[in-house]
């Protein structure tokens, strides 16, 4: 599986700092074709087969390397996997040569009902075993490794017996999957749950991290919400630097999903990430919007 995955990574280089493609920017991007190293697309928005959406996907993929980020696999759910959803993902990934698929360490649906929110799991042996089995099923079906992202959580389960970082690391090892580490989520969980950031970062298997996410949170007073509606906060940049100096060539992505600003504003964030990562590697990427 590693060999297969490596081939795809080489064919479609995902490197430097990309951004999440959002609909207010699509026309500007397709008209001006700004120099952006890669895009991450929310896969769930691109599973429709008619109208404008598939055409936009095709055009973006003609000009940029693209990865898929999904929210609908519901890997942690005790429901059977939605094979129709998975088959659609596989078909479109193959059709447009999508570099890889990432999903979340959570569940979004159960008993046939969908929350459309990333619901946390208790970090227990039962959850671990269940997630390992589900990720293996998905990877076998797709014929390649997927990336699993740590989620923000506002809940502490009595059934939890493992630290989040240990759970994620063990999951990656047992399922032989890759990791997408969201630095903002680490910070959110640090503030809301008191997790130890240094311990978290040193516990992660660096060789399995293939993507890093950066985003902004919303301060709600008694907690902070992973709202993706603000610039990346200073404490998050500091955690990012601690992480990226260990893995300077791992691609980073800027996510901004609510109160979406101009494309240039998001590219400014990407440039900031590049400057930090570049301190630990040679060569960087110049972001130019015409």
């Amino acid at each position: 599986m590693d060999v297969f995955n490596q081939k795809r990574l080489n064919d479609k280089p995902i490197s430097g700092t990309g951004i999440g493609l959002r609909s207010p920017h699509v026309n500007e991007i397709l008209t001006d074709l700004p120099e952006i190293p890669w895009f991450e697309l929310l896969a769930d928005n691109h599973l429709v087969e008619g109208g404008l959406i598939p055409l936009q996907l095709e055009k973006i993929c003609q000009h940029y390397p693209v990865t898929f980020h999904s929210v609908g696999l519901s890997l942690g759910s005790v429901d059977p996997l939605d094979m129709n959803y998975l088959a659609k993902l596989k078909k479109i990934m193959k059709q447009y040569d999508i570099a890889w698929l990432s999903e979340h360490c959570c569940f979004t649906s159960v008993a046939g009902f969908h929350s459309h929110d990333l619901l946390p799991l208790p970090y227990s042996e039962e959850s671990l075993s269940h997630m390992v089995n589900r990720i293996s099923q998905v990877q076998d079906f797709l014929g390649e490794q997927i990336l699993i992202e740590n989620v923000s959580s506002y809940m502490k389960f009595a059934e939890t017996t493992l630290d989040e970082a240990d759970f994620i690391s063990e999951l990656a090892e047992q399922a032989d999957c890759l990791l997408l580490i969201d630095v903002n989520n680490i910070y959110v969980n640090h503030i809301n749950q008191g997790i130890d950031i240094d311990n978290y970062l040193t516990s992660l298997p660096a060789e399995r991290i293939k993507e890093v996410h950066l985003a902004g949170f919303d301060d709600r007073g008694d907690f902070i919400l992973d709202a993706h509606n603000n610039p990346v906060a200073e404490p998050v940049w500091k955690i990012y630097e601690s992480l990226i100096q260990q893995i300077p060539h791992v691609p980073t992505l800027i996510e901004w999903d609510n109160d979406i600003p101009s494309l240039q504003r998001i590219l400014d964030e990407a440039q900031k990430a590049e400057v930090i990562a570049d301190k630990y590697r040679s060569g960087n990427f110049n972001y130019a919007v015409s």
């Binding site: 429709v48 404008l52 519901s74 159960v110 459309h116 506002y154 008694d222 907690f223």
Partner: protein, 265 residues
């Protein structure tokens, strides 16, 4: 508690109105700044917010007419009555039109909005039209090969993006004045006769076309699956130019194909 029970009780708390929180809260531990109740309420708020956002995007005119507070109340009630059973969030609002009709029958404050269910139906089909599957091109060559004896088994197929509407209310005017924001004079005169129109996608953009009574009846008969022979036998058919109208429907991309009910040798 097993994982399956935790997930089930968690989801029940998010999507059902009459669930007691206590069973699920026993599965949580307090955090220094978040009580167990607060932890659950954050997820309730997140889910509710996501659903409200989607419904507001699909039904902007309903939102503008009812105002944010009342519309959000409807969204909360809708979440409990019709929880999402589809991973595609675009489909979440599918039953909102039915729900609005149900609520209109139940609540006096909606008496002034008799048109609301029809307006919601318009908005839903406008949204659905954008995301509808592409159609194949009309197979004129195959149609030319259909034998006259097969006309009784030939039925026409409408575009995936097509929907047919009728209303005794000025829903089109109301929609146009409220779909982006509340614009202009909000007094609308009742039309003298029932209004007929259809929604279909032209290339990538949904479009509304007004229809006359003949076109509406013909399209309704086609959507009801009447065969070509049955269409030509309808009482109203002689009142217009059937062939010309059918040609226009095909040219407009409303009728996109046909099928034969039985297979030929």
């Amino acid at each position: 508690m097993p994982l399956a029970n935790i997930e089930k009780t968690f989801m029940d708390n998010l999507l059902k109105s009459s669930v007691k929180e206590s069973e699920f809260l026993t599965q949580l531990l307090p955090l220094s700044s978040l009580t167990k109740e607060k932890q659950l309420s954050i997820y309730k708020s997140n889910v509710n917010g996501a659903y409200q956002k989607v419904l507001g995007q699909v039904y902007p005119a309903c939102l503008n007419i009812l105002g944010e507070d009342y519309f959000n109340q409807l969204c909360r009630a809708y979440r409990f009555k019709y929880p999402s059973t589809d991973s595609d969030l675009n489909n979440y609002g599918e039953y909102f039109t039915v729900f609005v009709k149900e609520q209109s029958d139940l609540h006096d404050e909606l008496n002034d909005f008799e048109y609301l269910a029809e307006l919601a139906l318009l908005e839903w089909h406008w949204h659905a039209s954008f995301y509808a599957d592409n159609d194949s091109s009309f197979a004129f060559e195959k149609l030319a090969k259909v034998e006259p004896s097969e006309q009784n088994i030939l039925i026409f197929i409408l575009s995936n993006s097509f929907s047919l509407h009728s209303s005794i209310y000025p829903v089109l005017d109301i929609w146009k004045a409220n779909k982006s924001s509340v614009e202009g004079n909000q007094e609308f005169s009742m039309p003298e006769a029932e209004t007929y129109f259809c929604i279909s996608r032209v290339e990538f953009t949904p479009k509304i076309t007004l229809l006359n009574n003949y076109q509406y009846e013909l399209l309704k008969s086609i959507s009801n699956g009447l065969s070509l022979t049955q269409l030509t036998e309808r009482d109203f058919i002689a009142a217009g130019d059937f062939q010309n109208e059918l040609t226009r429907f095909i040219q407009n991309g409303w009728v996109t194909g046909f099928s034969l009910l039985e297979l030929r040798d």
